[in-house]
Symmetry: C2
Amino acid sequence: MEESLKYIYKEQKELTNFGGIAALLGWDQMTYMPLKGSGARAEQLSLISRLAHERAISDELYTHLKTLKDAADQLDERDRIIVTRLAKDIEKARKVPSAFVEQMSRVTSLAYMAWQEAREKNTFSSFAPHLETIIELEQQYIEYVRIPGHPYNSLLDDCEEGMTVDVLQREFHTLRSQLVDLLGRITASTVYQHQKPLKIQLTIDQQRELCTSLLKQLAFPMDRARLDVSTHPFTTSMADDDVRITTNYEKEGLLSSLFSTMHEAGHALYELGLPQEEYKDTVISDAPSLGLHESQSRFWENMIARSQPFWTYFTPVLNTIASDAMVGTDERGLYKAMNQVRPSFIRIEADELTYCLHVILRFELELDLITGKITVAELPGCWNQKMTEFFGITPPTDKEGVLQDMHWSGGEFGYFPTYAIGTMYASQLFKQYEREHPTVHDDVSQGQFTPVVHWLHEHVHRYGRLLTADEIIKKTCGEGLNSTVFVTYLKEKYCPLYDI
Amino acid sequence: MEESLKYIYKEQKELTNFGGIAALLGWDQMTYMPLKGSGARAEQLSLISRLAHERAISDELYTHLKTLKDAADQLDERDRIIVTRLAKDIEKARKVPSAFVEQMSRVTSLAYMAWQEAREKNTFSSFAPHLETIIELEQQYIEYVRIPGHPYNSLLDDCEEGMTVDVLQREFHTLRSQLVDLLGRITASTVYQHQKPLKIQLTIDQQRELCTSLLKQLAFPMDRARLDVSTHPFTTSMADDDVRITTNYEKEGLLSSLFSTMHEAGHALYELGLPQEEYKDTVISDAPSLGLHESQSRFWENMIARSQPFWTYFTPVLNTIASDAMVGTDERGLYKAMNQVRPSFIRIEADELTYCLHVILRFELELDLITGKITVAELPGCWNQKMTEFFGITPPTDKEGVLQDMHWSGGEFGYFPTYAIGTMYASQLFKQYEREHPTVHDDVSQGQFTPVVHWLHEHVHRYGRLLTADEIIKKTCGEGLNSTVFVTYLKEKYCPLYDI
């Protein structure tokens, strides 16, 4: 038993190291790698993934885990928790044949390239055969994994363990109708009719200085993390003490680098706050779900950085760093400008209110594709129909519609819903935080963010995978996923903004 | 046989990928990694090294190689060349037990930390026990490898295949006495007595612009390479099409970032020019020796960037980019300033003329340590004595003496001589180039560097390991290592400069 314990800890450590190496290969690819390095990089990444997968599903690890599971009552609490968690992961991984994993990897590599070209040339039909193959593989994957209930639950489970289609359909149903209703009232309002985008032109240096000042205010630990630049902002973790975030300093745009930095900082603070010490380099030191991870980024991006108190704090900062770019806009003007609602085609450019509608649209289409209710050929039409239904606008081309996201080309079915889950969780956490800290608005208006960082660490980060996302939210907020909390938050914020 | 060929090509490709991954881990550590990422990074690097070593010495690879060697006459030329080369490498690697490799890695990790502390605190005695262990391990290594002749040949062979102590002693003997003599005449000259350092204060942005302009002039392919910043400049290769160089923009200093960029660009052009196509991802696509690699960096740093024609080209560039920093210094003044000779304590800050004396000093001490002629305890005294003998100056502390270089803490005995070998090779290649291209001085004074790049590619880079360094130099220059060529080059350059 001692030997088995030793073995599984060693293997977890090596898997952690493989993960960190893969993270660096990916980070470099998106930030600094010379253009022509991409061929070799794909091979290096695939080598590391293969080695890690081989280790994870090795018979030796499985045998040791079985020995330990059979003797679970003799293990101390920490060992038992780890053995249970690891065994569950490994048993799931072993359900999927290596040949299938390799096939999926090959297919999605090609599909990603096909998607890029299809998006560029606006030719959905050239991507369609790839998507068809991917959907067949997803269906095959569901057969291997067989999570009870709706077939899609097997895909959901990889991203949001324990979440089911039943729960999502219930919450999304409310959310969708409430959001469509709210959006209708907003677009019909006088304020909306007169709404004009605020133009602030910031140099890259000014944007960088603003982001850096914000990270400093968050006490973001620059000896354990760093901020770089990539086309699409992301967060990745090489190790407990080495987390990287990126942003993109657009030449124009309404401070989008600021919001993306806050968003990624939220992810990074989670990674940096995961359990160390007794759970370091174990399967526990990770987030239990993508939705919970997203709750942290959305919390900082929306509940903090898009709030009125934040702009009370940040307007003078902006005036100091970029006085030349400000055309006499005051904090109320900035707050309003940062929270303009507008039906739009592109998910990643959507405002806080319409964002989840983009997600629900994708979730509904994924369900229909996986269950065979619609075909890939019918997808662009269905997409456009739903866009019209939800937003009252129809994409002029597939580029602004069904071809905009890379997820499906990567076989990431089940991923989209976690964006909405995270957004809802964020509002639930924020409501709870407000309840416990009635001075939050004053604190934020004075740039005091660290109490929030500490509370999120205490109530979310430090658990790692000791609890599921659902358990963490229930423990902290007194109830599980609840779209009504989010809708109430939106109404309280946007009804005054649009005078409705 | 088909199967064996397939196997060895696959393995070489994977070993290439392991090498590229390790290169990225190391590059990131020196450039961007947050401070606290170092612990995990050491583990990640050690995991990759161990996996690569296990693969290199695996019985399966060895068996396939034996099969192929036995059937060598049935192989086509390319396969036969690769099998021969790979078998030689693998047979050597297999002479060294894995336990020894791990021990060496552990010992040098500790020794490196001890060296850093000892250098900081100027306490050689705290580093001494580590160095003693390392020397014992080097002696053990020699026992495993057993290259014929002098025991030190086994250490030399890893850095400079085929080079022997006999040859080095012969060449270094001439070089040493000639350099000491030349240095004596220089320091006694009137010009030397009146020599004052030129002070140019350049901003980091100006230095960056100068380096970038120079790389552009070299047609340095920025889609296959990049320039970053690290404490000590270096070159590393992630893949055929992904080579990274670094420099260091000092706040003050005489354009050292410029020379280091030229130096590293020389290394990088070699890496970028290694044989691809039929030899891609094989053991052939590599440099045959560190000395030959160094010849490429020294060629660009010394023969080009420290030449009179270069400053004819570069003075206007400098005046354009950094007019405010120039105090009316003309091209002749700059050329002289860049070529001031001065006895000094620190190797990496040494001028072109005294540099090799620093190297010969270390080589002589390494020989004495390995053969047991001197003990580690005697080392600082011997160092200082040789410094006085060679340069006429004595280091005030070990920090400026025996503790200055990291090489010994890393077990890199046999490495130092390659710096001098490279410098001599560079002068031999330059002499040959001059012979074939009498217009070289005009070309360089007009900033035309690409003919030189092409010639070096044609005569050095493209061979990879198809030939040894010695064979490449003989084929190109008509003779092997010859210190007299270098001494003649130095005399022709420095006698006029110092009016001697």
